[in-house]
Symmetry: C2
Subunit: 219 residues, 2 copies
DNA sequence: GTCTATAAACAGATAGAC
DNA sequence: GTCTATCTGTTTATAGAC
C-alpha cells in the first residue's frame, strides 16, 4: 500500500475490487460468480481466494473501498458546510443538496457504489456494518447538525433525524427507482441535465420547508 | 380459478407464489434456489416446473400476484381521492400520504412485496414490465392528477411528475433503508408508532410545499 | 504471485413411477 | 397432480505446477 508504483499484486487486488463493486452492485452477492468477477478483472479465479480468502472476503473489501472513497470525498465537503456560521448555513444546506443530487443521482461512476450500498441496505450482510458506521451514520449525523445550524432545531431530535432521512430519500429515490423514473419521465438517461431538473424541485421543496419552520420557537 | 374450494393444484400454486414473494424479495432471483422455494412452500421441486414452466415463470407469476393485489387495494383508494372536488383535494392528498406510509412503510405483510418491487427497480428483469405498467405507472399518474386538483398545476408537467416521485421517495426510503433507519433512530422495529412519526413529518413537509405553491400563477 | 486442474457441492430441468 | 431420482451444467474452493 501507499507505494509509488503499485505492485502487480495490488493491481490485481484493485482490479478485483473494482469488478466486485460493479458485479455485486449489479447482480447481488449470489448473482455474481467468481468466474465473472475474475474475468472482468482480467485475473484468474484463484486470485480471489489468494488475495481475499474467498468470495465473501472480496465482498467485504468492496465495502471497505466504498467507505474509504466516500470518506475522502463526501465527508470533508460536508464538514466544510457544517463549519459555516449559522447565517450561511441555509445556503450551505442548499449547496449540500445540490451536491448530493449530482453525486448520488447523476454521476455514472458512483452508480455501482450506489447499487452496492442500496443492496446492503435492503438485505444487510456482514458488509453492512462497515457501510453503516463508515458512510451512513457520519453522513446523516453531519446533515443533522447542519440542519441545526440552519434552523436552530435540535440536531438529534427525532423530528430532525426523520426529516434528514426524507431529505436524502426524496433525492436518492431517483437512483433507486431509476428504471421506473426514466420510463415515466421519458428520459433516456439521468445525466447532468436531468439532475438539474431534480435538484431544482428538491431545492424548492427545501426552501418551502425552511420557510415554514421560520417564526417557530425552539425552546 | 375462482372456485369455492381451491383445488390442491391451486393451493400448491399459491404456496409457491407466496414462497417466491418472500425468497425472491429477500435474496433476489439468483439468490433464491428452487429447492428453498419448494421447501418453504412445502411442495416438491418438480412442481415449480410443472406449474410455472421453471424458476423464471414463478418469478413472473409473483409479479402478477403483486399487480393484482395492489390493484385491488391501492388503485380504488387512490381513484376515490382523484374523484374528490378540488376543494377537498388537498385533504385527500394528505390522506393519501398517510395511507402510503402505513401501507408501504409499516405494514409487515407488504414487506416482501416491497422488497420484490424494489429489487426489480434497481435491476429490471422481465418481471419489471408488469410491475411498471400494473402498479408503478398507474399509481404515479393518479398521484399527479390528484396534485393537479389540489394545486392547479398541470398533472403531466415535468415538475409535477418529479415532485410526485419525491413525495413517494421521501416516504418509501424508510422501507428501503430500513436497516440503517432502525439503527440511526434507535428503533427496534418500524411499526404503527414509528409510521405515525414518519407520517407527521411527511405531512408537515407536504403542507409547507403546498403553502409555498399558493399565490403562484398557473397560466 | 500467477495460473490451471480438479474436487465437492450445488444449481435448474426433466423423466417417469405413482 | 404429486413426488422422487437423476441428468447436465455450474458453482466455490483448493492443491499444486510454474
Amino acid at each position: 500500500m501507499g507505494e509509488r508504483f503499485p505492485s502487480p499484486a495490488e493491481q490485481t487486488r484493485s482490479a478485483l475490487v473494482r469488478a466486485g463493486l460493479v458485479l455485486f452492485g449489479r447482480k447481488g452477492f449470489e448473482g455474481a460468480s467468481t468466474r465473472e468477477l475474475a474475468a472482468l478483472a482480467k485475473a484468474n479465479i484463484g486470485s480471489i481466494a489468494y488475495h481475499f480468502g474467498g468470495k465473501e472476503g472480496l465482498h467485504l473489501a468492496c465495502a471497505d473501498f466504498i467507505v474509504d472513497t466516500i470518506g475522502k470525498i463526501a465527508r470533508p465537503a460536508l464538514a466544510d458546510v457544517a463549519a459555516l456560521p449559522p447565517a450561511d448555513a441555509e445556503a450551505g444546506l442548499k449547496h449540500a443538496v445540490e451536491r448530493i443530487v449530482s453525486f448520488f443521482v447523476a454521476s455514472p461512476e458512483i452508480g455501482d457504489f450506489a447499487q452496492f450500498i442500496l443492496r446492503e441496505m435492503s438485505l444487510p450482510s456482514p458488509a453492512f456494518d462497515r457501510l453503516y458506521s463508515g458512510v451512513f451514520a457520519p453522513t446523516h449525523t453531519q446533515l443533522c447538525s447542519i440542519w441545526e445550524r440552519a434552523t436552530g432545531e435540535a440536531a438529534e431530535s427525532e423530528e430532525t433525524r426523520i426529516r434528514m432521512f426524507m431529505l436524502i430519500g426524496q433525492v436518492v429515490y431517483f437512483r433507486i427507482a431509476r428504471a421506473a423514473v426514466q420510463r415515466r419521465m421519458g428520459w433516456s438517461d439521468i445525466g447532468p441535465q436531468q439532475a438539474q431538473a431534480i435538484a431544482g424541485v428538491a431545492l424548492a421543496n427545501l426552501s418551502a420547508v425552511l420557510a415554514s419552520r421560520k417564526g417557530k420557537d425552539h425552546p
